[in-house]
């Protein structure tokens, strides 16, 4: 898809994240456009040589940056932290972009009026185990973020249930007791009768411009990067 001497720029392939990325780049005088047919997955930045744009999903972008298949990419900090336990050695976050805001939070059913803080969860976990014969189940797609956060808050006795969609419905369905999920306005959680714990904010995430430390950085690639970063004011 590219020559070895080109900078691979990974851009979200759909939705608001794609639109806002393209708007942000355009505002900096960088016109990102698709090449070939309109549904294609490749593109270029007008007037900047040696750049290949790859339109891929946001979570795929994190993987590309992790392994060095892309030099620079735009994706959520949540995905970077979730997919790379050693993210600081693999990527550098160049700039928060001011869109794609989302909080990763711990949420429990509203009717758990005895629970407001993480410490309360730990408090009731013993009694829960005695009654149910098992530890709490937490549904999430953020397995690593969840495990690290709960452990750091002293909650070690729980089971993570991987959920790939509709996480907010799992407590009502009985497949999980509470959840860790992403929220921007809190409306979805509210509609599902869930409340965020007072100290249950795991991460305030937004879209970031991210460079991979694992990619091959030749002088020509560096040069292309400099042009882009300069325009974006990094």
């Amino acid at each position: 898809m590219s020559s070895a001497e080109s900078l691979i720029l990974a851009v979200p392939s759909k939705g608001r994240l794609m639109e806002q990325t393209i708007e942000t780049f355009a505002a900096a005088g960088l016109n990102v456009r698709k090449v070939g047919n309109a549904r294609g997955y490749r593109g270029e930045v007008e007037g900047v040589p040696n750049v290949d744009v790859a339109f891929i999903s946001a979570s795929e972008i994190a993987r590309y940056l992790k392994t060095g298949r892309a030099h620079i990419g735009i994706t959520g900090e949540d995905l970077v932290r979730e997919q790379m336990t050693d993210w600081e050695t693999r990527v550098s976050m160049l700039k928060p972009l001011g869109f794609g805001h989302a909080d990763v939070v711990v949420a429990v059913p509203d009717c758990w009026i005895d629970v407001r803080m993480m410490a309360d969860l730990d408090e009731i976990s013993g009694a829960f185990r005695v009654r149910h014969g098992r530890w709490f189940r937490v549904a999430t797609k953020y397995i690593n973020l969840t495990r690290r956060f709960l452990s750091s808050r002293g909650l070690t006795d729980f089971r993570i249930i991987e959920s790939l969609g509709a996480t907010e419905g799992t407590p009502a369905a009985g497949t999980a007791d509470f959840i860790v999920d992403i929220t921007s306005t809190g409306a979805t959680l509210k509609a599902n009768g869930l409340k965020i714990l007072d100290d249950g904010l795991i991460l305030k995430s937004e879209a970031n411009l991210i460079a991979s430390r694992m990619a091959k950085w030749t002088p020509r690639v560096r040069e292309a990067e400099n042009i882009i970063l300069q325009r974006l004011g990094v």
């Binding site: 005895d114 408090e123 976990s125 530890w135 452990s151």
Partner: protein, 391 residues
């Protein structure tokens, strides 16, 4: 340390054969439990901390499986498949691999793939006897392989539990302290909280609801909570029932009405946890701690002494064994006696053998009731390294 050459593998197997013949002679049936196990058994029983150390994967049918991180749970499952009644008496032994993730830079004595030769005894109701036999058989196995220089470390979670049971405090406090026992920092914090009654955690409950709840009348309390939720349009759903939520609220009310834990009891618990002494002297230390107080744990204490006597009678050098009250704190499925065998060349962090009592594990694996169970295993690669001077 994983045997990657055929020669080392043969040496390991030759050593294991000697150990297994000791186990079989002691009445243990040799079994080979499955290497691939359902992940849920381990994760539900031991908790998420184990997942970080277990190789978990999804098979093509979407089933969550794992490579066994030990052989004790697989042997329990094998036993339950064979016997409708989990409490049926049985003695098993095994020699096989277990798998645990190790972070980069872990010492060589902690490989991610290692072999264990071990024994399990289920359903034995004479607990002290079964425990002593387990230690003796493991030590016989080590000796048969040629090990001479080693030290026995013992602990007894039963003593701590008995101490908690005997100390004057509400049941829910006991449960909390037992729950936190595995985490030294959290345990200390909880103890302090109970002695000062500083329950400063903000709660989502208005005081007017709490004021209406009477711990003596749980049925009425449930109605009050239901009415409270109802008037606020909060739907009751999820895995926790109204009675569970009410019980938790009642414990908040009860805590506010209870006398704090006495400083004497708190300091007794703390002093006990700090006990490290030769196995025989530990008994006397414990008696000193309890002198003058009104705490009676003679049953657990007698069990400790009886076990020690049985070990001595069987020729175990208990004079040189060490007791540590805290020992067992990091191994959450043990419920009573615990032991480890340590050699000088590998040190305390890499015991060549270990084991203990785990009476609740069978129930956690699906049995309707607790089953007395005690077992132990030899880390055969460490043993070989210790014997050949590779350690």
């Amino acid at each position: 340390m994983v045997a990657e050459t055929a020669k080392k593998f043969e040496a390991l197997e030759a050593q294991a054969a000697k150990i297994m013949s000791v186990f079989i002679k002691a009445g243990h049936e040799a079994v080979a439990p499955a290497i691939i196990q359902p992940a849920s058994v381990f994760l539900d029983v031991i908790g998420e901390t184990l997942r970080a150390r277990t190789y978990v994967f999804i098979d093509p049918d979407g089933e969550e499986l794992c490579l066994r991180p030990d052989l004790t749970v697989p042997t329990c499952r094998l036993h339950m498949e064979r016997h409708l009644e989990a409490k049926t008496r049985a003695k098993y032994c095994y020699n096989g691999s277990a798998f645990r993730f190790q972070p980069a830079g872990a010492p060589v004595a902690h490989p991610r793939e290692f072999r264990q030769a071990g024994i399990e005894s289920f359903g034995g109701t004479e607990r002290a006897k079964a425990e002593a036999q387990t230690v003796v058989t493991i030590l016989d196995g080590l000796k048969a392989a040629g090990l001479k220089d080693f030290k026995l470390h013992i602990g007894d979670l039963g003593l701590f539990r008995a101490l908690l049971e005997a100390a004057d405090m509400p049941l829910r406090w006991r449960r909390r302290l037992m729950h936190q026992f595995w985490r030294p920092d959290a345990f200390r914090t909880e103890l302090k909280r109970l002695t000062t009654l500083a329950f400063d955690v903000p709660r989502d409950v208005p005081t007017e609801l709490l004021a209406k709840l009477d711990p003596e009348r749980p049925d009425d309390a449930e109605k009050q909570v239901a009415a409270y939720l109802d008037t606020r349009g909060v739907e009751l759903f999820g895995t926790r029932s109204l009675s569970e939520i009410t019980e938790s609220l009642l414990s908040i009310v009860a805590d506010s009405k209870t006398q704090p834990l006495s400083a004497d009891t708190a300091s007794l618990l703390e002093s006990y946890i700090r006990v490290v002494a030769p196995a025989r002297a530990a008994g006397a230390r414990l008696r000193d701690l309890l002198r003058g107080g009104n705490i009676d744990i003679s049953e657990a204490f007698d069990a400790y002494q009886k076990r020690l006597q049985l070990l001595a009678d069987a020729g175990v050098d208990v004079a040189h064994a060490d007791f540590e009250a805290e020992f067992g704190r990091t191994l959450e499925y043990y419920t009573g006696f615990v032991f480890e065998v340590v050699v000088p060349s590998l040190g305390r962090q890499s015991p060549v053998a270990g084991g203990g009592r785990y009476d609740t594990l069978m129930r956690q694996c699906g049995s309707p009731e607790d089953v007395p169970a005690v077992g132990g295993a030899i880390h055969t690669e460490r043993l070989l390294a210790a014997l050949t001077g590779d350690a």
